[in-house]
Amino acid sequence: MWFGPNLQRSYKYMMFASKMPSLRIDQSDLKCKNGCDYFGNPQWQGYCSKCHREQMQRQRKAEKESSATLPKPEQKKPERGLRIPSHSSFSKFEEKRLRQSETLKKANLLKFSVFKKSSTDDHDHSAEKRPPEFKIPGIVNEGMKRDFRTRFPQLGPAVDRDSRLFVHSFIMDVIKCANVLSVDELSERVQRQYQRFMKHMDTSSHFANVEADTKELLMDFVEKHAMTYLHELPSVVFSPSGTDDERLDRAMSERIQQLSWVGERHLECKLDRNNPDCRQLLYKAISELLGMDSALSPGDKLSRVRRCCRHVLRLCSAAPASADDLLPALIFTVLKANPPRLVSNINFVTRFCNAQRLMTGEGGYYFTNLCCAVSFIENLTAESLNMDKKEFDCYMAMPASIGGSAWAAALSLCGAVREADEQRAHAQKLLTHTHNIHTRAEQLAANAQSFEEQIAKKVQDVLTKTPLEIKPRRELPRLGNLKEINTAPLIDLGTTTAQEEPQTKPEVTPEPLAATLLPTESTEPNITIQPETEPKLNILGFEVIERQSPSKSPQNLDQTWDLKQTSSLELLTPSPLGFTPFDSRSIDELMTPDEFGTDQLPPGLSNINYDIDLSDFSGDNSIAEEAPKSEPKDPFSPEALRKITTFDPFAPQTSKGFETALDSFDEFSFVDQRKQETDPFEVVHRGQDPFSPVELSKDPFFAPEKQSTSILDDNDTPATACLLPSPIQPQSSNKPT
């Protein structure tokens, strides 16, 4: 094209032009100095843009040849010995700026050390220093992948791959060329790369279904990632080596500090320092402007500028905000912000932002405004502020901190207010958070409560469904009863009776006792129930003398009596029974002391018992010898078992005996066949019946050699007892004898 493509890029040339165009210019003045037909421009030394560019290129070439980095002759270096660090309370920005300049200095040192070496040499030489096989860290790739997924979820992997490939090749290309090409050439190369990608998007089948708007976004995406990476490389794209950017940064910063006295009235912008809204907006705008430096990609920087300018636009109270208002306000903002590395940032964006974006759109417009503002500040004169030259010089000679103090104070106040707002918002957030926690805790408590109730209700339901009746206890006796009933018919069967009867046998012998007492009262078994208690008493009464000695086991005595009663079927033998109680009791007494003899030895009893025992032995023996021969020896084993089981209970007498008694009692009841006697009392007593037989069976213990025989006796007798009551009688009768 006609006019330099890097017109914008060479803005640093124009902004140093101090001569203002006079209001009236002759036609000849307008023409190019070179004599070509086009208009010339005083900013371009009277050349037209084309001639000027050629001129500049020649000049640059010459410069390069002589020494690469002489400061531009037209650049006036601000020399101010009197540089007072501003002590204003506007410390926040100041601090930020200082920090950034600190890092900047470090970078400078690094850069300059590299630069000094290469300054004498050609650029080609310095290129060799950078290894061409420079590898891009994978983190760029990963970051792009992630970002792509979040930003373009609708696009396919082909697009993703294409864009990543482009970024890769783009970065490699830039790094390769960075030291070979001048900045402007590099910029043009970058622009061509952008165009290449744009063309690729238009032609590639991968992008066939991509909307035009999405393509633009993709372009931004690619630019962002490529430039973000390149931005962090020192002296490649951001304030690259071979440019004055850094020096200009410092110069600009100092210049802005010098101009801190410039107020809103000088710029004729309508800003009200006393209006808190206005202050707030200005503060926000300044924050955004300062944030431009921390943004890495040109696009991000642009969006910072855009946001800043939006605040500034709102600052301009005029309803249709116009550029006439915007520009002064923006200049004022820049003056108050004094953004770090301003020139570098602007140059970076101008050179490496996608030119299409920079030319159109809101971001481009505002960025252009910012460029204008910076250039205005650079060239600021008394005339441009509409003030007297003397006054201007006076202000400029003044220490930097004096002039702007009022606004600085207002802005610092604003900052404090903002901080307070942030704190308040934070506190508010915390408050709502705690409130949430409270409500949740309450909810949790309520939940726990309801849960508890629920559980209680469930438990209640279960309880009502299955009432709390102690079934097992009831069942056991019932089962026992059932057994009685069930087994009752079994008694008729020979097999079962044979086993059960043996135990009853010994009872049969004592039974006559009850018979002796009962016969007078009643013949029926029903009636005998009542006598149960009576006979005991009676018996007890009778045998007071004997009782006193065996008082250790009164229960046993009672039980034995009961047993005797239960077996009261045989009422025919009253006379032997009359003896038997004594005998049985004596047996009990005798037995117990013997058993105890092992544990305890009551001396008095043993003597008495011994005498009677001997007689018993004889009786037992006689029976045993008579009966066992006729009967089979099968029942032995169960009998033995029973004895073993019943043995233990005797020592503790009641507790264990009870359990065993339960087992045995059924059998006895069957034997009795008295179904009317369902009363538990009786049953219990009967359950304890086995005690007596055991006692009987234990008799042999005294004569151990006859243990088996005694059992035989027991076994034999029951079988006979039912069938043959008569033989039993002699046995019982024998005992007392």
Partner: protein, 213 residues
């Protein structure tokens, strides 16, 4: 984003220049805000200083940049000119000084834009005919001498505002058709946006042919 009827094939960049207070911003707002009433039922595509118009069946997005007109900013506002396809030079018919400055504005425009940039002269505030300071004839003569298009308009009433913008667009489009405007140049101020549904349909077969080894 713009889609469907808001797709456009071109973007033209305009700048509005002129002295402070001639009503540049008002003209811009008159033109851009009108889109709410006329073309677009929705606020879709509402963008900073833009409006989509139609010229010869082509949708064109006009991107209009307002500029600061103060004399003291003259030296620094040339960044605005970069890549402008059209320049609307505005003066106030009730203030002669604004008319007198036109030549310097014209100089700047000529210097800072490319030769194919269409310059349109607008005499604003035509509703204030009673306070007229510059006659139509005088301005018309100036326009003719410098090869400018000229119209008197009123940002207040909207008279001729639309015409000025549309005529400029037509002229630019014509120069594109004539080939005088190089679309690929960054400074042309025109961006060509191939309509997304049309082009890709044709493109894929070609791409596939290339891929087939």
């Amino acid at each position: 984003m713009t889609s469907g009827p808001y797709n456009y094939s071109y973007i033209f960049k305009y700048i509005i220049i002129g002295d402070m207070g001639v009503g540049k911003s008002c003209l811009l707002h008159q033109f851009t805000d009108k889109k709410f009433m006329a073309d677009c039922p929705h606020t879709i595509g509402v963008e900073f200083g833009t409006r989509i118009i139609e010229v010869a069946g082509q949708k064109i997005k006009l991107q209009i940049w307002d500029t600061a007109g103060q004399e003291r900013f003259r030296a620094v506002t040339r960044s605005y000119y970069r890549g402008a396809a059209g320049a609307l030079m505005v003066y106030d018919i009730t203030r002669r000084s604004t008319y007198n400055h036109l030549s310097s504005w014209l100089t700047d425009t000529r210097n800072l834009t490319n030769p194919s940039t269409v310059i349109f002269l607008i005499g604003n505030k035509s509703d204030l005919d009673g306070q007229r300071d510059v006659t139509y004839e005088e301005a018309k003569q100036f326009a003719d001498e410098n090869g400018l298009m000229f119209v008197e308009a009123s940002a207040k009433t909207g008279q001729n505002v639309e015409e000025a913008f549309l005529e400029t667009a037509k002229k630019i489009y014509q120069s594109i058709q004539d080939g005088r405007l190089d679309l690929n140049a960054a400074e042309s101020g025109v961006q060509h946006k191939p309509a997304s549904p049309g082009r890709p349909l044709a493109a894929p077969p070609a791409a596939r042919d290339n891929c087939a080894c």
